[in-house]
């Protein structure tokens, strides 16, 4: 009808041809729709599973952690590379018999029994489910080559180059550094580990923990297209992001002080701790605890190592310097003296008679070793560490909380703000505290004068540690600044450029009268270097003038604990050192000699210069002594 032109094709009818073509089109579209329905709706789940299965492998490229350096730039912790044999358990065959065969072959290769392989997998899954399980560290190249050639026999097995923390100095500064290990499930939920994944390593203690975000790098990512056998297809590298290494952390640690302190503790062979700190800015020059441990053992500890570290009675993992809970003995007298002078309980000239004991009703408090020094003022009382003098001060202040107020101000029983994790802040016994306990029936008596007499000499319920004592001593030494003790000094990039400096503000400032300060400093100086001083046998001949106080703490069930806190140089100190040694006896017996070793290391150059001058003539020695004090 519609092809009326003369050029209408002959012998065919258009409508038929259109109808045939329409029919063909309907058939073709039907085929496509049917096929589409078949693929997507009927078999969709199968293809979805296939798509999800193993089409890309993401290889995480691990970023090396930053190094940790001492203040002079020497490396304390760095990394070494290691080849680790890893197993992705999700890729294991589902058939138990096949799985067993794969694990057995793997065990043979790694020199592990089947039971051991299974145990390693189980333990790995507990630490971080879903992450590849590390079967063995430090595998050799021959093994790598073998596995790569026989990939089909070892589904899910890979060899990865990993960075392992390396401690060139072994146990040096172990408690400061802390350790690194795989992130656990609880940590993964924390905000500070937001972008981390199972299998990542994080700092678990010490500066490794607190400066983790600087030290930890950013892992790179390499996606590789793989075929059904899990082999990378040629040219199939999809996305690749190179890893960003962690930044280096420079600590305030002075290597000579640290080594001296640790060896001094080790030579005593008794549990204890030490700290050396700059009194003005809180930089910690040395901090150690004995017994110590090797942090490298905590990266992938064996059961035997876990037992040795965690179930050891001497608790090598505990940092006694920052987490110890000890009475301090007479080193506390600095605080008692400050409280008494500042509150006007006594003046520097107040004379108190020491008949050898202070009796409170039937209960008598004696001097150590039954000594009796007769009438004396504060300075000689500090020099000889007269207990009755301080008992009397404790008694005078027993009901006023003045002693506790000053101890609190100076930081006893409070967080210090140190930049490593601390589990406990100790205890400063107060009237309120004990009365509350008594009310709750936790103790048999309320606060009494006896409690305060005990506290005045650092005994009784007091629980503190060398760190808190060092902060208190530093406050007296610097004239009233409660510094924030810290270990982190700078963050640097790999090229040594400083990215960030740490100079934490003081916790607070307190007012200590300069008269009070100089009287107490004089007393401490006499105690260390005066003729009758308690630590004169140790420090009497030390070429630098110092101010130090011994302490002998009585701990129920233990032999006496030796304490020593010292400010140097006298009278304007730069550093404070506190040492405690459990069961070390008198302060002058164990702790003071250890402090002596540390100070020798710190003043090493100065002492050497002076001894050279001393060789030239005795006058020279005196002159240089004068300049030191200035």
């Amino acid at each position: 009808m519609y092809l009326r032109n003369g050029d209408r094709p002959r012998g065919s009818r258009l409508s038929l041809r259109v109808a045939v073509l329409g029919g063909v089109a309907v058939a073709l579209f039907a085929v496509l729709f049917f096929r589409l329905w078949n693929l997507q709706v009927l078999d969709g789940d199968k293809y979805l599973a296939e798509a999800k299965n193993n089409r890309t492998r993401e290889f995480k490229v691990i970023a090396p952690r930053g190094d940790i350096l001492d203040r002079e730039g020497n490396v304390i912790v760095d990394n070494r590379t290691s080849l680790a044999l890893q197993l992705n358990t999700e890729k294991l065959p589902e058939e138990p018999a096949e799985e067993k065969a794969v694990l057995a072959r793997l065990g043979e290769l790694a020199h592990m029994s089947l039971t051991k392989v299974r145990k390693a997998i189980r333990e790995g899954e507990e630490v971080a489910a879903g992450a590849p399980v590390t079967l063995r560290q430090d595998v050799g190249f021959y093994l790598v080559a073998y596995i790569e050639e026989h990939q089909r026999e070892f589904p899910g097995v890979s060899v990865q180059r990993v960075f392992v923390r390396h401690y060139p100095d072994g146990t040096l500064a172990a408690h400061v550094l802390g350790n690194v290990s795989e992130i656990d499930e609880e940590e993964l939920k924390e905000v500070r580990y937001k972008n981390l994944e199972p299998g990542d390593e994080v700092g678990k203690a010490g500066v490794e923990y607190s400066y983790d975000r600087f030290l930890r790098g950013q892992p790179g990512l390499q996606k590789v297209q793989v075929n059904a056998l899990g082999q990378p297809t040629p040219g199939g590298q999809l996305v690749s992001k190179s890893p960003t290494p962690g930044e280096n952390l420079k600590l305030t640690i002075d290597p000579e002080v640290q080594v001296a302190g640790e060896s001094a503790l080790a030579s005593q062979g008794l549990p204890g701790g030490f700290i050396t700190m700059n009194v003005h800015n809180g930089q910690i020059l040395g901090l150690g605890s004995f017994p110590t441990y090797d942090p490298s053992e905590l990266i992938h500890p064996t059961q035997a190592q876990v037992n040795a570290l965690y179930r050891n009675e001497s608790a090598p993992l505990t940092d006694r310097t920052v987490e110890g809970l000890y009475p301090t003995g007479s080193t506390f007298k600095l605080i008692t003296a400050t409280a008494a002078l500042e509150n006007g309980v006594i003046t520097p000239n107040t004379v108190i008679d020491d008949p050898g004991q202070l009796c409170l009703g039937e209960e008598c408090f004696h001097n150590a070793e039954g000594a009796a020094y007769g009438p004396l003022t504060l300075v000689p009382a500090l020099e000889v560490s007269d207990d009755v003098f301080f008992y009397t001060l404790g008694l005078k202040m027993w009901n006023t909380n003045e002693l506790q107020d000053w101890a609190h101000k100076l930081g006893i029983g409070r967080p210090t703000g140190i930049d490593i994790p601390v589990g406990t802040d100790g205890l400063l016994p107060t009237k309120q505290w004990r009365d509350q306990l008594f009310k709750e029936g936790e103790t048999e008596r309320p606060w009494s004068a006896g409690d305060n007499i005990q506290l005045a000499t650092g005994q009784g319920d007091l629980q503190t540690n060398p760190l808190q004592m060092a902060v208190a001593y530093a406050a007296l030494g610097n004239g009233g600044t409660i510094v924030t003790p810290h270990l982190g000094m700078e963050v640097e990039d790999a090229a040594g450029r400083v990215l960030k400096e740490f100079d934490p503000k003081p916790r607070r400032k307190i007012h200590i009268d300069s008269g009070t300060r100089s009287v107490i400093m004089e007393g401490l100086h006499d105690a260390a270097q005066g003729p009758g001083g308690t630590s004169e046998p140790v420090f009497g001949s030390f070429p630098i003038p110092v101010a130090g106080k011994t302490g002998t703490a009585e701990r129920p069930g233990h032999a006496d604990q030796s304490w020593y806190c010292i400010l140097a140089p006298y009278p304007n100190p730069r550093i404070v050192t506190c040492v405690t040694i459990e069961e070390g006896g008198f302060g002058a017996q164990a702790a003071a000699p250890a402090a002596h070793t540390i100070l020798e290391a710190y003043f090493h150059d100065q002492i050497a210069a002076e001894s050279r001058e001393a060789g030239e003539g005795s006058e020279g020695a005196e002159e240089s002594g004068e300049t030191e004090t200035g």
Partner: protein, 398 residues
């Protein structure tokens, strides 16, 4: 006569106002056809925008921007073509045919090679692939020859002449080498002949010859050591028959495409799509874009796209019957079948039921030449529709 506007002759008792639609020639466009074509290209731009963000580093909208420009160019081209009376092309058939053969030949000299084949000219803004436009040109010229020579020679002579005219440019394209497009040329030739009234018996003979040729190319020639197709072409053509055996080669691609589409299930995986996002499916912005749609938008999205193609083809086929003259019927038929063929082969390839031939999906696949040429072809269909209305014929619609 063809170009005469006969509006005034129409009985229009009320209409005196000539609207902008009239002026632009939009009034008698086939709107379902327009909607299907524009809908497809919009969906293409949308899909490319979502699926190719990471393809060109630093330029997440690379394909999106370009395809959008091509789409706009194409739509403008379609509107222009709508306004031209297609019948003029019949008079220009010799010139068109010459230009067609020259342009597909010139790529051998001036074309730039992409993946071992010379198909396109490098122009400042995009590379122009003459064989894409060639599909339309071949239909326009061949339909002219068919109408013109309808009374010369015997039926057999005519059939042979048409075949030769159609197969010459097809052979040139085949030598570029571009197997897929040359197949479209062959199919378009057969379609024009089909609508030109070539007897069924001739088609039976041609069909038999094709089967023999395929057997020769795929089985006999390789067996005797004188292969006609290149190895990869042969592998692609046959791999869909046993795709699981070719995990690494051509079958691997097709298998990946199948997995991609299947994994989309009913509603699609959206941005969770991995197969087409992570490079498992090659050429995902061009030949395998249907796999992207299948994975991202699921059965819902893929069926929607197929429905648009069905609509497109239905309207094109309808226009063959509306045409005011046989030339329009032949042109519309050639375009319709070429579109149907490309759609079926491409989607079938994505679905793993057709061989990999490198035929783009009309209006969906990324590429300026293909998008613009397809829109021009649809513009010619529109022109046939417009002219039919203007000549007051074909007022009975299906």
């Amino acid at each position: 006569m063809y170009a005469t506007r006969t509006r005034q002759a129409r009985p229009e008792p009320f209409a005196v106002h000539i609207g902008i639609g009239e002026r632009l020639g939009l009034a008698h466009m086939d709107w379902p056809l327009t909607i299907a074509a524009v809908g497809l290209v919009v969906f293409s731009v949308f899909t490319l925008g979502q699926a190719t963000q990471n393809d060109v580093p630093g330029s997440p909208h690379y394909y999106l921007d370009r395809q959008a420009i091509y789409a706009v160019l194409g739509i403008v081209g379609m509107l222009l073509a709508t306004r031209i009376d297609y019948s003029r092309f019949r008079e220009l058939r010799v010139g068109i045919y010459t230009f067609l053969c020259a342009s597909v030949s010139l790529v051998f000299v001036f074309g730039f090679a992409a993946r071992g084949s010379r198909r396109a000219f490098e122009l400042p803004f995009f590379s122009f692939q003459p064989s894409e436009l060639g599909k339309l040109l071949l239909v326009l010229a061949l339909a002219g020859f068919v109408i013109d020579g309808a009374r010369r020679g015997s039926a057999v002579q005519r059939t042979v002449r048409y075949l030769c005219l159609g197969l010459a440019p097809a052979a040139l394209v085949f030598l570029q080498p571009d197997l897929g497009t040359s197949m479209v040329f062959v199919v378009a030739t057969l379609a024009v002949m089909y609508f030109g009234g070539v007897p069924w018996t001739h088609f039976a003979v041609i069909g038999g010859a094709l089967v023999a040729l395929i057997a020769l190319v795929l089985v006999v020639a390789p067996a005797v050591g004188t292969p006609i197709l290149k190895g990869y072409q042969l592998e692609r053509l046959t791999s869909f028959l046993h795709s699981n055996e070719h995990e690494d080669g051509a079958g691997y691609q097709q298998n990946q495409s199948k997995v991609a589409i299947g994994s989309g299930e009913f509603t699609g995986r959206g941005d969770k799509a991995t197969q087409t996002r992570l490079d498992f499916v090659p050429e995902r912005h061009t030949d395998f874009i249907f796999a992207v749609i299948g994975e991202r938008y699921g059965f819902v999205g893929a069926a929607f796209v197929l429905s648009l193609y069905a609509l497109l083809f239905w309207r094109a086929l309808r226009i063959t019957t509306l045409s005011k003259n046989s030339y329009g019927t032949l042109v519309a038929g050639g375009i319709a079948v070429a579109l149907l063929f490309q759609t079926f082969v491409n989607v079938g390839m994505n679905l793993g039921i057709m061989p990999i031939t490198g035929i783009p999906l009309p209006l969906m696949s990324y590429g300026g030449s293909s998008v613009v040429a397809t829109f021009l072809a649809i513009g010619v269909l529109q022109s046939i529709n417009v002219q039919a209305h203007l000549s007051q014929r074909g007022r009975f619609a299906w």
